[in-house]
């Protein structure tokens, strides 16, 4: 027995290693694939497993919806969409992006849920000179010449709603959010603009309260502090499971009668279902709502509802718009849509018609200059939904 065990294990190990190596070579691409009029390869990276998979699936579905409603073509070329799984963050996103960029050799990359994942993929973009048309998270980057986002910058929702909160809340506001980059940016956007508008935070030290993320599932101790602070309103940003926990516990806490304002992700998409009645009346700010009244949006919502349950989310919309951006840029790049040519054309697009209303890329940040809407969770037929109750600022530079 002692003879077979280690030898067998080693043989097994070597065989597995050989398998991995051959599998790697077997599906190796043959180089750039942008011949005239031929198909074009686009890489989509999104969280299809793990914590953020509901956002990731919306991003995939939004892009696929655009393809399905446009004969599977972008810029007149048949699209070969290569999907890879971002997982929970940079640790899994980087190898998956490496595959898309160095093995599949896609002409452009889209998707990516996490800001940290974008930061991790960024060196690869610089190296392979492929543009990213991201549809969600956006970290701080030194050079955005190849990075475009159809979503928003994390500090914009808070900046857009601050004046409204200042005008409508008679007293101080308590700011609370999750303790990671996204939370810091979202809350900073609000607190900076709110301070500029002359508002004062109710937080005891005048600084935002940050809760450990993702470890916090119980917000009761924080609600006790909010109660003690005498705040007249609360501003927050949470997404995913934390948003469900926060809203459900808020509605049963001793501060349930204090108005709650939030970045729209608090009540966006699937989380609103899980929150149920607890979410009623929450005010939120977002760049999109499925009840916006314009022709693009009616077509988008109808096409979405034909394929999926429920209404489209801002995540799906951003990915749909990313496809629209690539559609026009590839079309404009002519006979040889190389990654460089596509990137150059994205910079020349100008106004982009969209279900959220027309928007355009900022020349400085490469993210949208767009209008933000005030929404409230209200009864819509049998279900609760985010209903637009007013326009807020147009933001972007």
């Amino acid at each position: 027995m002692s003879l077979t065990t280690p030898a067998r294990r080693r043989a097994l190990g070597a065989t597995l290693l050989a398998l991995v190596l051959t599998a790697g070579t077997a599906c190796a691409g043959d180089g750039p694939d942008t011949t005239a009029g031929g198909p074009i390869k686009i890489g989509l990276l999104a969280s299809l497993s793990g914590t953020y998979q509901s956002v990731g699936k919306d991003i995939r579905d939004g892009f696929e919806l655009y393809l399905a409603t446009h004969d599977g073509k972008l810029g007149g070329r048949q699209v070969d969409l290569v999907v890879a799984d971002e997982g929970n963050g940079a640790a899994t996103a980087v190898p998956a992006a490496t595959k898309l960029l160095k093995q599949d050799r896609v002409a452009a990359l889209t998707g990516i849920v996490g800001g940290g994942s974008v930061a991790g993929v960024y060196p690869l973009l610089q190296e392979t000179k492929v543009p990213l048309v991201g549809s969600n998270g956006r970290p701080e980057l030194k050079d955005v010449s190849r990075v475009w986002h159809t979503s928003y910058l994390s500090d914009e929702p808070g900046a857009a709603i601050a004046q409204h909160v200042r005008d409508n809340v008679n007293g101080s506001v308590y700011a609370i959010g999750p303790d990671y980059q996204g939370g810091w940016d979202e809350l900073r956007g609000f607190t900076d603009a709110y301070a500029k508008a002359g508002g004062k935070l109710a937080n005891p030290d005048g600084k935002t309260t940050f809760t450990p993320f993702p470890a916090t599932t119980n917000f009761t101790p924080y609600f006790a502090r909010i109660k003690a602070s005498g705040a007249q309103a609360v501003y927050t940003f949470y997404a995913g499971s934390a948003a469900v926990d926060f809203v459900k516990q808020y509605a049963q806490s001793e501060i349930k009668d204090i108005p709650l304002y939030a970045a729209g992700f608090l009540t966006e998409g699937g989380v609103l279902n899980a929150q149920g009645e607890a979410a009623r009346d929450i005010y939120s700010v977002l760049n999109y709502s499925p009840d916006l009244d314009n022709a693009e949006n009616r077509a988008f919502v109808a096409a979405w509802k034909a394929k999926h349950d429920g209404s489209p989310t801002t995540y799906a919309l951003a990915s749909y718009d990313a496809a629209a951006v690539l559609d026009r840029a590839i079309g404009a790049a002519g006979n040889d849509p190389t990654p460089e040519a596509i990137n150059e054309q994205i910079g020349k697009l100008g106004q982009i018609a969209s279900p959220r209303g027309a928007w355009q890329f900022s020349t400085v940040t490469h993210s949208p200059v767009q209008k933000w809407y005030l929404r409230q969770v209200r009864q819509d037929g049998r279900a609760l939904s985010n209903t637009v109750v007013g326009d807020l600022a147009t933001i972007g530079q």
Binding site: S2, A28, G89
Partner: protein, 339 residues
């Protein structure tokens, strides 16, 4: 006779694998080369896990802590000091060893599952600090734009996937060779003997805590060096690289490869990481399901028991250990995956 055959088979397999790895960059595409470089760095952390788990008898879930310390020291300090790879390696290894030395009082006196939970806590605390210390670490979004290194004074900077991979391979091969040599010395023998029967070794006058502490610091230095290799291979680091997922997969990889065998641990850890990364690329959305099924299948494919170090570890079995399991009370465990 048997011993000779085993040694021969081992040597042959090792030589074939090494030769395969050396020519790999000319046989496979850039993607595979880049993934291999990253995987080798993680395999080296696996070696440090095996050094603690299999050799010193301290099953660990916390080697991501010195790994992270090495990576951040290399990216933040090392790149300021010099762009020479070996200098950065030294900085990273020192940082890893320092962190390991600081945690010796917490880890070294404990045994079994207790070690696992203490090291888990250390790993989580380090990741929390990295995520919050924004001015230095760049916070949860990580550090991008780290300058490329040159392996040695006078050599060109590593600009291609092939170059980065070969540099990683040379460093890993050298360090693994050094570990293998170290284990043949008296200190290595005392450590293994102490793992199997601590009381006897203490009785014969060996200062076991000293040896165990030394092994902990050495493992920290190796993990720190691996951190520097990750920076080279990936040119980006974030707390996500050092999270609980990584430490759990590394420990499981080491278990598959054989906790007491350095080469086996390297291959096991590298395989687990490589298969995970590969699955996320080719089976979007189904990677965890397939990976889980593979773990279960591995247990059945290796029916004689995966761990090679099956004799009792240091310390006595707990009173609750049933006699039918008493011959193998490896007090080792891993906790579930957290993001």
């Amino acid at each position: 006779m048997r011993e000779a055959v085993i040694r021969w088979v081992r040597g042959a397999v090792a030589a074939v694998v090494l030769a395969g790895l050396a020519v790999a960059p000319w046989m496979v595409d850039d993607y595979t080369t880049a993934i291999l470089a990253r995987t080798l760095a993680l395999g080296l952390v696996g070696v440090s896990v095996a050094l603690l788990t299999g050799v010193a008898g301290l099953p660990t879930l916390g080697q991501t802590a010195p790994y992270a310390a090495g990576a951040y020291a290399c990216a933040v300090l090392g790149s300021q000091v010099s762009d020479v790879g070996v200098v950065q390696l030294a900085v990273a290894a020192t940082a890893g060893a320092t962190l390991a030395a600081l945690t010796v009082p917490l880890v070294a006196p404990a045994r079994g599952v207790i070690v696992l939970m203490i090291t888990l806590a250390i790993g989580e605390l380090v990741v929390t600090v990295l995520g919050r210390w924004r001015s230095v670490t760049g916070g949860t979004d990580g550090l991008a734009g780290i300058a490329p290194v040159r392996p040695f004074w006078g050599l060109p900077v590593l600009a291609t996937d092939q170059a980065r991979y070969l540099y990683t391979l040379v460093v890993v091969a050298t360090l693994v060779g050094a570990v293998l040599l170290l284990l043949r010395t008296r200190a290595g023998l005392v450590l293994r003997a102490g793992r199997d029967d601590e009381m006897r070794l203490r009785a014969s006058g060996h200062r076991m805590p000293l040896y165990v502490s030394g092994a902990h610091i050495a493992a920290g230095a190796i993990a720190g060096a691996a951190g520097s290799l990750l920076v080279v291979a990936q040119q980006y680091i974030s707390p996500a690289d050092f999270g609980f997922d990584t430490s759990a997969l590394l420990l499981l990889g080491v278990v598959i490869g054989g906790t007491a065998s350095v080469g086996g641990a390297l291959v096991g850890a590298a395989l687990v990481i490589a298969v995970r990364d590969w699955l996320f690329g080719v089976l979007p959305g189904h990677a965890p399901l397939v990976l889980g099924a593979l773990f279960v299948a591995t247990v059945y494919l290796l029916p004689t028991g995966v761990g090679r170090a099956r004799r009792p570890r240091r310390g006595s079995p707990p009173p609750t250990a049933a006699p039918d399991v008493a011959p193998t009370p490896d007090h080792a465990a891993v906790a579930g995956s957290r993001r």
